[in-house]
Each structure stands twice: as C-alpha cells, then as structure tokens.
Amino acid sequence: MQKEYIHIVLADDDEDDRLFFTDAFSELKMSTKVQTYNDGVALMDYLNQEDAILPNVLFLDLNMPRKSGIECLQEIKSNSKFDNIAIAIYSTSSSEEHIEETFVLGANIYIKKPNDFNALKKVLSDVITINWQYHTSGLNKENFLLRM
C-alpha cells in the first residue's frame, strides 16, 4: 500500500500508555516509525527544529504537565509549517464537550484510550489506514474529522 514509512509521533506523559502505544504498532503489520515524547514541551521542541522530520500523524495526550495537549494543538495549528500533520487527540476523557472542543481547535481525530490491548491495536490501525486513504485520495484535509 505505501512504499515509505509512516511517521508517527506520540506525546504522552504516562509511561504505561507510551509502552502500550509502541507495543501496539510493533505488532501491527504496517511500516511505521514511532517516536514518543514525555510532554508537550519536549514535543514542541522537536517539531520546531529546523530540519525536523514532521510526522504524518501526531498523537497528543491532553493531560500533560508543563504544556497540555490543547496548548500544543493550538501552537501547531497556528504554524502553517505543520499544516500537513494529521493530529489525533489521544485521551482518557469521553466528555462530549471536550471532544467537540478539540475538533473546533483543529484536531482531526479523537481517540478515547481503549482499555483492551487488542482494541487499541485495532483503533491505531484504523486511524493510520483512514489517514492514508485521505492522504492518497486527495481528500480535503480540512474536513478530515474522525472519532474513535
């Protein structure tokens, strides 16, 4: 399906969640390169580097110390350099108002962290697949909204 690697970045302050995340991708049969960061500051530092390899999909946890997921989201959306990144909010909350708010602020995807590993694998796989379809089908990135 794709010739190159899909670059994926996760920013999450929870060690266990990072572990789940990387384990899930390593078990999926997709050519992906996964990077994780401990908090928002580390993430933005990386992204703002001159020669940074920008991810195709960025997974953002909301509750992070120092810089929250929302703050990162706003920063990223205000910089046109990052327009091509599909942003997925990766969170424990399932409050409707929260979810809508992240979409309004520019997130493309909202994922509620599942409580089952297999479910997690499926979700991540679906996200990457759909994102890839968008990417290759020339569909409007602006309107790309997905909720898992």
Partner: protein, 596 residues
C-alpha cells in the same frame, strides 16, 4: 330621586329651613290680611253707625229748623232767625260729615244729592217764611196753615231719604259683616293647616338631625377605635406612619414613628432634620436624595436604609409612601417599617446559601475528578490484563489463569461502577445547556449505544414518533440509553426482550400523578418491557442511589443507572414513576414538561 333618599340627603334640612321661613312669612301675611280685614270691618261698623247718627242728627236739626220755623210763625221772634241760622249751620255740618263718610258709595251719593236738594227746598221754604212778617198776629188762617204745614211734605221726603240711606248703610254693614264672618272661619283653617305642615316638617327635621348626630357620634367612635387599632397594629407590626403636608411643609409622625427611633411618642415636634439625625452616615446622602425627590416628584418608591436608635442600636428601615389629596390639600403619606429582623435573616440565609453552594461545588468537583481520575489506573489494569491474557495465558498455571480471569471480572465491574459514577456526576454538574432537540434522534443514538446488547439479546424496540423538546441532549440520550439497558438486562431468560415506547400529551388536570404549579402541559413517555419485573413496593426505592433488588451474581449492576435517570428527569423538572409486577414486566413512565 325618591322620597326616602330625598329625606336622607343633606339638602333636606336646608329646604325645610327655607320652607319654614316661607311659611312664617306666609302666616304673617295672612295674619296681616286678617287684621286689616278686621280693622276694615270695625271701621265699616263705625261708619255705618256714624252715618246713621249723623243722619239722625241732621233730621233732628231739620226738625229743629221746622220747629223754629213754626216758632217764628207763632212768635215772630226775630231772634229765632239766629237760631235758624245755627241750625242751618249744624245741618250743613252734618251733611258734610255724611258726605265724607259715604264718599265711596255711589248710591248714597245719589241719595245725598236728593237730600241736599230736599234740604235746599226746605231752606227755601224756611227762608220764604222768615221773610214774612208774622207780627200782625195771625194772618189769614189758610196762609198760616199752609205756612205751618208747608214743610211737612219735605220733612216727610227728607225722612224717607234719610231712612233709605240708613237702610243702605245697614245692608252694607250686614254684607260686610257676613264677609267678615266668612273670613273669620276660613283664615284659622289655613293657618292651622300650614302650622300642621310646618310641625310635620320640623318633626322630620328633628328626627333627621338627631339621627345624623347619632351617626356622627358612632362614626366618631369607630374612628377612635380604628385609630386605636391602627396605633396598635403599628406597634405590633413594628412600623410607623408619617404625613407631610406638601403645601405647608409640615410633618406629622404617628406615635410609633417616634418609638421606632427609640423616643417616647411626641417627644419632639415632627420634623425631617431630627429624624435624619439618626440615619447611618453611609446612607445619609442616599436618603437625603430620595427625600428631596419625594418632595418634588410627590412619590416615594420603597427603599431601605439604616438608622441608629437613641440607644445606639443599629436598625434597618424600609420607607415608602404616596401622595393623597384631601380637600385640596396634598399630603404625602408614608410608612417606615423596621425590617431589621428580615434583613438579618436574609443575610444569614444568603450566607448559608453561599456556603452550601460552595460545598456543593466542591463535592461535585470531587465527584467528577474522583471518577475521572480513577479511570486511569483502572484502564491500565484492564489493558495489562488483556495483554497478559493475550500473550502469556498459556504460561500461567491453572490457578494462575483462574485468578487472572477473576481479576479481569473484578476490574470489569469496577469499570462499570466508575463509568456509572462518572455518568452520575455529569448529570449533576451546574452548567447544562437546554436546546430544542428531536427526541427521536436521541432515541436512535441511545439505541446505537446499546447496539451490542440489543444485538446480543435480539431485543426489539418499538417506538412511536417522539416530538421535539427543549432538553439537555446528552442527558436525555443517557436517560433513554439507561432505560433500554435496564429493560434488556432484566429480561426473562431465553425470551427476547421487547420494549415499547409510547407517548401522549397530558396536563396537570387530567393526570393526578403530576402536581406542578409552574407547568401545565407535559409529554408522557412510557417505556414498557416484558422482563422479569419487580415488586411494586420497591417502585420508589429503585430510584435511590446504590439501591439494588438483586445481588451481583444474579444480575450485574451498580444501582446507579436509575438514580441517574431520576436525576436527569429532575434536571428537566419532570417526573418518573415505575410500575411492575413480578414476571409481568415493568413500565417506566416519564413526564417531561412541554415548556421549560
């Protein structure tokens, strides 16, 4: 205006008064007339008498004349001529008198004329005789006889005329007498009648006046009592009243107005400055402004201020007033009420409310955060368990596997509990946005939420078309979802659950289960199922938090679901009731107001 109301009207007395005066004048006039008539009558009598007398006198004189003539003839006494002259003068005098008295009477004047001519004739005869000389003794007897008797006819005629004249006078007198007698009879009648009428009127007036007086007395009494009562009510109600005459700028304070400030009644002459002395310095400007406005705009809207009583105590007063016009005087009347207790009570209530609200907020926050943050570690546990089961189940011993499975089950229950708690905390959060929503959409979403369960148990849901309603969408969706979940969960084994949802419109009059004061129209939505049912005696209990009718081994559940439903319904100012019979399914009836 009928007689009775005329009697009662105030004009009555005035009219009676005027009437009485008129009657008095009338009586006076009548009396005057009578006296006049009387005088006239007596004058007439006198006149008639005078005429008769004078005529007789005149006849006598004429007789004397005749006699003198005869004497002369007999004696030829020349001195008799003097006597005759005197007699003539006397006759003249009498004639004149009679003429005067009978001036008005035409008939008498005619007779008088005749008389005069007759008397003249007499004079002629007498004079002719006087001219003769009878000194020679007796002249030829025939001449003497003739001379002697010459006056006889005249005398006879004169006598006849005089008699006639006297008769006329007499008849006149009679006539006048009878008229007078008539008058005498009728006049007293008139007088008595009018006197009677006057008497009646006076009696009526007296009665009215005394009644009026009694009324006034009793009104006065009532007023006194009323005054006393209002004074008392002022004391009891802890308020005072005051008046400001806008024209004279004079103040009047009621007794209690003084007491409110701590003074004895009428301790000082009522005036604004002495009152204002007691006002709290912070409120002084405001009160002054309002008072000035009150004097110029003639209205005093209700406002509150603080004062210090004479003993230094701080009180809160509320004053208000309005203008009243009594007999062309403009009076501003007002009340001053001591509302200190009310204000202090209010302040206390407000304080307690603040504390309660802040406590509530804390609890809600705690509730939410607790359930939210509990999810984290639980999720990890569940995920790691799933990893273990996936990857390393075979590496575990049998007991290990069993333990793991139980851990999983326990974690699952905890998950449900936390989910339910989170749900519950969401329904009690303050900010809820009501918007017009299609309930069918919410029902569809709820069905989707329960899709897996519906599929599993092959449940059938029949629903009528629901209306649009102003609600908090996610809450009503939750409500529907929980009710569906409940019905399916407590369905009979091996019998596919059937849920029927119906809707009607009702109002507070037709349905006695709802007794709302504010809303009258409700939508009544009924969820009924064919599940295992429950005893009706628990119909209220099942809505209480954490109450279950089964233990966890029979049916899974947290006892929160229906409590959430009830909370949601309460948020929407509606009602929810449960009806059931063991083995005969359950019915949940929801009432939602048509308008919030």
């Amino acid at each position: 205006m009928n007689i009775l109301s005329f009697y009662r009207s105030p004009i009555f007395l005035r009219i009676v008064f005027v009437l009485s005066i008129a009657i008095i004048f009338f009586i006076a006039a009548v009396t005057y007339k009578q006296i006049n008539a009387l005088t006239n009558s007596s004058n007439q009598v006198l006149n008639t008498y005078n005429v008769a007398v004078e005529l007789e006198k005149m006849y006598t004189y004429i007789n004397d004349l005749e006699t003198a003539k005869r004497d002369y003839i007999a004696s030829n006494d020349q001195t008799i001529k003097f006597a005759i002259k005197i007699h003539q003068k006397e006759i003249e005098k009498a004639l004149l008198k009679v003429e005067k008295i009978t001036k008005g009477n035409k008939t008498q004047r005619e007779y008088l004329k005749i008389l005069r001519s007759l008397i003249k004739h007499k004079y002629y005869i007498v004079n002719s005789i006087l001219a003769k000389d009878y000194s020679n003794g007796i002249l030829g007897s025939t001449e003497l006889n003739n001379d002697f008797l010459s006056g006889k006819k005249v005398m006879y005629d004169i006598r006849k005329v005089i008699n006639k004249m006297i008769t006329i006078e007499e008849s006149l007198l009679n006539k006048r007498n009878s008229i007078y007698k008539d008058n005498q009879k009728t006049t007293p009648l008139y007088i008595y009648l009018t006197l009677l009428i006057t008497l009646v009127l006076l009696v009526l007036s007296y009665v009215k006046m005394s009644k009026d007086l009694n009324n006034i007395k009793s009104y006065n009494n009532e007023l006194l009592v009323s005054n006393e009562s209002s004074n008392l009510s002022e004391i009891v109600g802890n308020y005072g009243t005051w008046q400001l005459n806008l024209d004279t700028n004079k103040y009047t304070f009621s007794d209690n107005e003084y007491r409110l400030l701590g003074y004895e009644p009428k301790a000082f002459k009522a005036n604004l400055d002495d009152f204002m002395k007691h006002i709290h310095p912070d409120d002084y400007e405001m009160v002054k402004e309002v008072t000035l406005k009150m004097i110029y705009q003639e209205v005093l809207p209700s406002f509150t201020y603080r004062i210090y009583k004479t003993n230094g105590e701080l009180r809160h007063f509320r004053a208000s007033g309005r203008v009243v016009t009594k007999s062309e005087e403009r009076i501003l009347i007002g009340t001053t009420t001591d509302v200190t207790e009310v204000i202090i009570a209010n302040q206390e209530i407000e304080e307690r409310n603040r504390i309660l609200e802040s406590n509530n907020k804390e609890l809600q926050a705690f509730n939410y955060v607790a359930s939210h943050d509990l999810q984290e570690p639980l999720r990890k546990i569940e995920t790691f368990i799933s990893r273990l089961i996936d990857k390393d189940l075979d590496n575990l011993s049998e007991s290990g596997q069993q333990y793991l499975s139980r851990i999983n089950a326990a974690a699952g229950r905890m998950r449900i509990l936390i989910d339910d708690l989170l749900q519950f905390s969401r329904t009690t959060r303050a900010e809820q946005v009501f918007m017009k929503t299609d309930l069918n959409e919410l029902l569809e979403n709820a069905k989707q939420e329960q899709a897996q369960l519906i599929e599993e148990k092959k449940a059938i849901i029949n629903n009528e078309t629901l209306p649009e309603l102003e609600v908090v969408p996610f809450q009503i969706q939750q409500l529907f979802s929980n009710l569906i979940n409940n019905s399916i969960k407590y369905s009979k084994e091996n019998i596919p659950p059937v849920i029927n949802i119906s809707i009607t419109e009702v109002d507070t009059e037709s349905d006695e289960k709802i007794n709302s004061i504010t809303n009258t129209k409700f939508y009544k939505i009924i969820f009924s199922d064919n599940g295992i049912g429950f005893e009706q005696e628990y119909a209220d209990k099942i809505f209480t938090l954490f109450t279950r009718l089964h233990n966890k081994d029979e049916y899974a559940g947290t006892g929160i679901g229906l409590a959430i439903c009830k909370k949601i319904i309460e948020n929407h100012k509606g009602y929810i009731f449960a009806n059931s019979e063991i083995d005969r399914g359950s019915t949940f009836t929801i009432y939602l107001p048509k308008e919030i």
